[in-house]
Amino acid sequence: MLELVHFQVLSAALFSIGIFGVLARRSAVLVLISIEIMLNAVNVNLVGIAAFSDRAADVRVFGQILVVFIITIAAAEIGLALAIVLRVFRNRGSANVDDLNVMKW
């Protein structure tokens, strides 16, 4: 049987994978993908809580509503982020995150 804990473990695992990706990937696009994974991990967590909550049905649905919000925002943000990465790539010829270190001491 499915339990809440399955959802939460899946969410935690996805989140960690996402963090690892953000910190350890060289390509900017892959960093964005990792951020996307983190967002989706949060979505999974919310859906799980919404499904297994003990409250009344019209209150339980708030989890799913929040998921819809997050998906929307994620989409908008990814569009913007990819536009920036595209710009950077056209300017510098590479999307390597290691090379983007001008704003330093």
Partner: protein, 617 residues
């Protein structure tokens, strides 16, 4: 209005000072006219007040100035015998000096400034002598010091003049600190600065004895500074760097006697503290003697006169210490006119011949007979030649020392000091005026009327004021008793008077032998007194000692303080936090690597920490 009008006397020159400051630079010719008009007006006020005083008696008038914490400070004038005499001297001598200055300083580019400060000085001095409370007196005291500084340093392009002005101000400043301490002590004990109230309270036994003693000693310290008593006398000879009329006015007749005036004014309380009077007498006598000895060795004419002034100020203080303030006032009066005429005469000599060194002078009576006569009158008056005013005043001093509160030893030393005053006078007179005319004096000539007229008037007064000493009527028992409101008449002691006449005659004869007939060699005499003569010529090494103290102690402490201020307070205390912050910043800047994933790592670590903290708490 009567005696209440006295306040006009200082106010008129004060306003004139302001006026001259406003107009003097643009229209320089106005300045002397304004100043002289003002001082004549002040003298007119004096005449009016004097007549009113004779009719109505003494009077006080005061106006509120400001109030602090329930205590009221006032502008006030007191008109009594002492202040009337001082006011008369100040205004009259100032008139003569300013008229003399018209000729002496003709063509000077800063003439307007000279007359501005002369007005300021006159206003301040008159404020001082009329003041009814100690705070106002202190104000006048400081302002005359300022006037003296500005006038000594009038030709400040000359380094020595600027240094002399500084020396005068700093030395009297040391005295002024003591003066202020004394005044504040009195205020603390009596709750007021008003002089007559303080005297009344002190007589009533309200004031604690030790406090009173300390206050009076400190006040005398201030008087000693201003009146050039030993050891604070060192500024007066150097003050001769100023124009000669300044020396005549400030450093002979008026400012330097402010100390004597103060002690005389406060005599009713000084009388209650015998230790203070003893100190005054000792310092006064010491000053009279030492200055007289130094005067004998000086070669600059004005320096001789300066040391003579110091010596006579010592005599005045001695008279106070002997318990006879009226005698001190009489000598002050006689000395003022005589010394003023002497200084102005010296100015005539240097104006005409350009000489100030007596070794370059000789036989000047041939070229400047009028100056010679007036100079001799002034000098012999101060030496104590009978029938001139100085004879009577010196005689009164000797009498006061003999019959007053001082013991016999004082009289002997006083006679020695008197002897020296005769000796240096004779030397000066013979050297400068008698003998063959030296080639360096060819250019000497009598000055214009604006210069010889004041000299003549002062010399006449120096000769004739002796008459004031006598009892002329039942009401007027002689100057000394009139000035102190006492019943004692004028009297002479034949032994004292006889002894002083003998000293004068012998002294003049001895110097005659040395300097005129050349029978006794001055060089030989000097050699005989060898080391003593050297000490006297080097002015008893006061300046050297003071300079040593300044160099070794004062400047070293100043250097140490400067080091602490620079190295510790500034470099460590103030620059320190700044530098530390800068250093912190320069280290922390490396956190800004510019690489995004460093920042992301930071965020992750922060989130984890927060989570742990939130979970455990």
């Amino acid at each position: 209005m009567g005696t209440d009008a006295a306040f006009l006397a200082p106010v008129i020159p004060a306003v004139t000072f302001a006026l001259i400051l406003l107009t003097g630079r643009r229209v320089p010719a106005i300045a002397p006219c304004l100043s002289i008009a003002a001082i004549i007006a002040s003298f007119a006020v004096w005449i009016y007040v004097f007549v009113a005083f004779l009719d109505d008696g003494a009077g006080t008038r005061s106006v509120e100035w400001f109030t602090v914490g329930g205590f009221e400070f006032t502008w006030g004038t007191t008109v009594d015998e002492i202040s009337i005499v001082m006011l008369g001297i100040v205004s009259f001598v100032a008139i003569g000096i300013q008229i003399y200055s018209l000729e002496y300083l003709r063509g000077d580019p800063r003439l307007w400034w000279y007359f501005a400060v002369q007005s300021l000085f006159a206003a301040a001095m008159m404020t001082l002598v009329l003041a009814d409370n100690l705070l106002l007196l202190y104000l006048g005291w400081e302002l005359v010091g300022l006037g003296s500084y500005l006038l000594i340093g009038f030709w400040w392009e000359r380094r020595s003049a600027a240094e002399a002005a500084k020396k005068a101000f700093v030395t009297t400043r040391i005295g002024d600190v003591a003066l202020l301490i004394g005044f504040v002590l009195l205020f603390r004990e009596t709750g007021t600065f008003d002089i007559s109230t303080i005297i009344t309270l002190a007589h009533g036994g309200v004031v604690d004895d030790t406090q009173l003693t300390w206050a009076l000693l400190f006040i005398f310290g201030g008087a000693a500074g201003k009146s050039a008593q030993i050891p604070l006398h060192v500024w007066l000879p150097d003050a001769m760097e100023g124009p000669t009329p300044v020396s005549a006015l400030i450093h002979a007749a008026t400012m330097v006697v402010a100390g004597v005036y103060l002690v005389v004014r406060l005599f009713p309380i000084y009388r209650m503290v015998p230790e203070a009077l003893d100190l005054i007498a000792v310092i006064g006598l010491l000053t009279a003697l030492v200055a007289g000895v130094i005067a004998l060795t000086m070669t600059d004419l004005k320096r001789i006169l300066a040391y003579s002034t110091i010596s006579h100020l010592g005599f005045m203080m001695l008279a106070v210490g002997a318990g006879a303030p009226g005698v001190a006032m009489f000598h002050l009066l006689a000395h003022a006119f005589a010394k003023a005429s002497l200084f102005l005469g010296a100015g005539s000599i240097s104006h005409g011949s350009g000489q100030t060194d007596i070794r370059e002078m000789g036989g000047l009576w041939r070229k400047m007979p009028f100056t010679a006569v007036t100079f001799w009158i002034g000098a012999l008056s101060l030496a104590g030649l009978p029938l001139l005013s100085g004879f009577f005043s010196k005689d009164e001093i000797l009498l006061a020392v003999h019959t007053g509160r001082l013991n016999g030893g004082f009289l002997i030393v006083t006679f020695v000091a008197v002897a020296f005053s005769v000796l240096y006078t004779g030397r000066m007179l013979y050297r400068v005026f008698l003998g063959p005319l030296l080639p360096t004096n060819e250019a000497a000539h009598e000055p214009g009327s604006r210069m010889w007229a004041p000299i003549g008037i002062f010399a006449l007064l120096a000769a004739g004021l002796g008459g004031a000493a006598f009892e002329w009527s039942h009401d007027y028992k002689g100057f000394v008793s009139w000035v102190t409101n006492s019943e004692e008449g004028f009297h002479l002691s034949t032994s004292i008077t006889g002894a002083s006449v003998v000293i004068v005659v012998i002294g003049l004869y001895l110097t005659w032998l040395v300097y005129v007939q050349r029978r006794v060699s001055s060089v030989g005499t000097r050699r005989r007194f060898g080391p003593l003569a050297t000490i006297a010529e080097r002015k008893f090494f006061f300046d050297e000692v003071y300079q040593w103290v300044i160099n070794e102690i004062v400047l070293k402490i100043a250097a140490l303080t400067a080091f602490i201020d620079r190295a510790w307070v500034n470099d460590i205390g103030i620059d320190g936090p700044g530098k530390t912050t800068r250093w912190g910043g320069s280290v922390l800047k490396y956190l800004q690597t510019g690489m995004v994933y460093n920042y992301a790592l930071g965020m992750v670590i922060g989130a984890v920490v927060l989570g742990v903290v939130w979970w455990t708490i």
